[in-house]
Symmetry: D2
Subunit: 285 residues, 4 copies
């Protein structure tokens, strides 16, 4: 695999942006291997993801950001982010007691499915330490109480910084994060909520779904914002149930949904295919 | 097709009910063609649907209800309903301006897919009169305002009674029914709500879904109760959307969902396969 | 709605095509309202669909095709097609005895959902004449036997030509078309097959699905080619079944699938969003 | 959890079977906790699964089979199987090189989701030995060539017998089993095929699906019979794809399908809810 640059951007829509950006790359001898764009005609915003091979590209890798910023971003009032395929994102996993999402992620990691590093796992309970140990990943327990929450999060933030963590995955972590933590990782904390949001926000969604008598249950992966279960949705999926299913059946059927939905969202994030804008996401193909 | 009796019942679960009821039918030479039962082990309720051919059945058709009530229903504190396959339920359609659900129902009706009579259509707008005319079904317009609502509903109830209507289908009828109307048809008014309930209760759910940035939209068919969009759910289904879909796209994709979900619910109701209990439904196979 | 031009093209992939084509439009003051492109990196083919408003476009409508051909198509060895939004495609419906797809299409047509004209319906049986009559569409019966097939198709082709038909929809038309007919409408005849192709090609797929004991059934809409049920697939969908479903249940569940899948495919075709290439389709968003 | 007996049976349908069987249990003071039955009206076969608590049951556990056989099975020409909930089925896993199904099964096993023992894993390649080691399960490599196949299978059968294995799961085992092996475990070998059977039987189904241009791919779990990929289907599921997906994308999307579909099938088998009959399965709720 050749090294590629991945550029994600959005800006007010104007004629010619697409042509100019693609032209910038081809004129400088970059071979475009991916392009997806989308115009929100309601808000008049242009969104784009473009990826090109750096071999033969005339602009040195370390100067691309500067050049692009000067030549185009200013002119078009763009917000953009540039990534390189030879830099692996570094992911921290937060877990509590349930193992299904953790196993699913570590299985993919071990099989080399994802272009990511997982230097550490953080938990508020010791229960899953043996799982982490099996996969050879450092496991850090930070028990959280009302009293020590701020203090423990500071310790966690320090650990995350020391490990150069670029994003966090809450793999059924049963704690609400504080503003401080959320602000330190804006649109970089991915949660899995065990309902079809916005239905059944908050605790015990399977019990609520059972009480309501729905015929389908869901799971939702989203970026964490300060409002509980209300951040930009990355991925959702559902499964059919019936009156015969008990709450326990919902929990069991839900586990498969949760792990698959979370892993799809994490994969899209790792591939740099998610662009959060306001309270929504553009998920490129 | 031979005439059959269809018995739906529920009662506190006790050993022997199933054996006694099936025995009652076979001993009296009824040929059982359908049996489905289910025990809610949380509430300890036994639910059952059984259907048998009346040819050779020793108890005369008109006495079955009496015999069953005396011999079993009292003993087991059963709630039960008995239907006969040679009695067609009579359905009233309520519509407003959108035609997709109406067309879908009338197409099935015309093709003879459903064992039902549709003697009339009621609307608060004249727009769909030409559709009703095409299918040769009387169309009654009852314009509703805040001032005349009670009065108009009385006129509607009179018309429904004159036509011996057994249940009502709200095929995108954009009016909230009054308590009086709802109490006149308990668990006999089927609505289609254009969202995956309980998400997006009330008006303009596609706009709300668009604002929230969900990745899947749904439709829900339920019995109407006095609490808006909160009655027992009969059927739901969903379709995947993306950031590229506008509100208009959601409306269009939703139309297909709505008509299919509503028709599935109506069919189950016509087949006497839905048993509402508390705020949920048991939908037999 | 302003008049737009819709351009669909494919050609060997080379650097700069996307930039040149979008540039061509923006330089000439066309306002791009839609753009989707895709590169098949295996076959090295570039596919594109672009749509722009003609108001203010400097090149006269009737000369666009010529200009584009001269300036770009020759240079890049493009195959392209140009459509204008003020030209309604003219569709012929072929039916036999089953009404569900016919009703679904005519309901959408009547409700104005589709930008299309339906000047006529052709059938090999008289059964659905009353449906056509209800919707006020001329209905032509061409009974087909082995002996008269070639002759009848000639008559049909004449009728289609007289009505300036641009594409044909086989809405459960239970006759195999001859080569002559297929070649007269290359990738312009849309069929619905009542199975999840390539499973259960040919006659009686629901019986075959029942025999095989599958747990899911499907429907497939595709362009008709000379090989039976083997043309480019436009759309598919499925529904879950169980051992409790009889062949008759499969037929009934399948009807809903068939009509929705066929209508989705027809809508994409009408919107000029389907590009058939070799034996596959690119379906733009 | 109390110990229960699980009885699965099928026989020619006759009046009174259901009543007699449920009566047998309730009269002998068994508390029925599960009952599902189904009549195939085409073949006239009665299928039933019933489960009851053994506490207070008057017939000693070890005599139930004998009593039931004498009193009912002979009379009604039943085929039946009796299981007890305190006996864990013993499962052997067969794998080759791909780890996704193996990880998924071992994660559930470790989390205690399944009532099963996994005493050993067999593979024709050494690649997944480290995975087995992590989960502490003995891993046996039996490299298979045309020449040594019969011999190796004899060694495998010996190992399976020594470990008292009751059923086998082929978790992407890329070898066709011989008749000898299949006959030793009739309807007790569960395979996952990476296509929506009967489409794309045999090798490289994702390549075939890509070539055909399908819009949906699937996975199928079935019992292994002597005809390749043609045994009774237990479970299937599908996922939507598009023209943008490469073969590699199909493989990746398919992995999630495969593991979920296989695990659902294995779970149903462990719960004794699958009854294979002729070339189909009855899967009880």
């Amino acid at each position: 695999m050749m090294t590629t640059a991945k550029l994600l951007l959005h800006c007010p829509d104007k004629p010619g942006i697409l042509a100019e950006v693609t032209d910038f790359i081809t004129v400088n001898k970059g071979n475009i291997v991916y392009l997806d764009q989308y115009v929100d005609h309601v808000e008049n915003i242009f969104f784009m993801r473009i990826e090109w091979e750096l071999k033969d590209f005339l602009i040195p890798k370390e100067k691309i950001e500067d050049y692009f910023s000067t030549l185009y971003a200013q002119k078009y009032e763009m917000h953009f982010r540039l990534y390189f395929s030879d830099v692996k994102p570094r992911m921290a996993l937060f877990v509590s007691k349930m193992s299904h999402c953790l196993f699913d992620i570590l299985a993919r990691y071990t099989a080399g499915e994802w272009h990511v590093e997982i230097p550490l796992i953080i938990s508020n309970h010791p229960d899953l330490a043996p799982v982490a140990e099996r996969f050879g990943i450092p496991f850090h327990v930070f028990p959280v109480t009302k009293e020590n929450k701020a203090e423990q999060e500071q310790a966690e933030l320090k650990l995350l910084a020391e490990n150069n963590i670029s994003f966090i995955v809450l793999a059924r972590y049963m704690q609400v994060l504080s503003e401080t933590m959320i602000e330190a990782f804006p649109n970089k904390i991915i949660n899995i909520h065990h309902s079809f949001l916005p239905a059944f926000v908050g605790a015990r969604p399977y019990h609520a779904a059972f009480q309501r008598g729905v015929k389908i249950i869901g799971a939702t992966s989203h970026y964490v914002t300060s409002e509980l279960d209300a951040g930009p949705i990355i991925e959702q999926d559902v499964v059919r149930i019936s009156h015969k299913d008990t709450v326990e059946d919902l929990v069991n059927k839900g586990k498969d949904l949760e792990k698959i939905v979370l892993s799809r969202a994490v994969q899209k994030h790792i591939e740099r295919k998610v662009l959060a804008y306001k309270n929504k996401t553009v998920v490129f193909n």
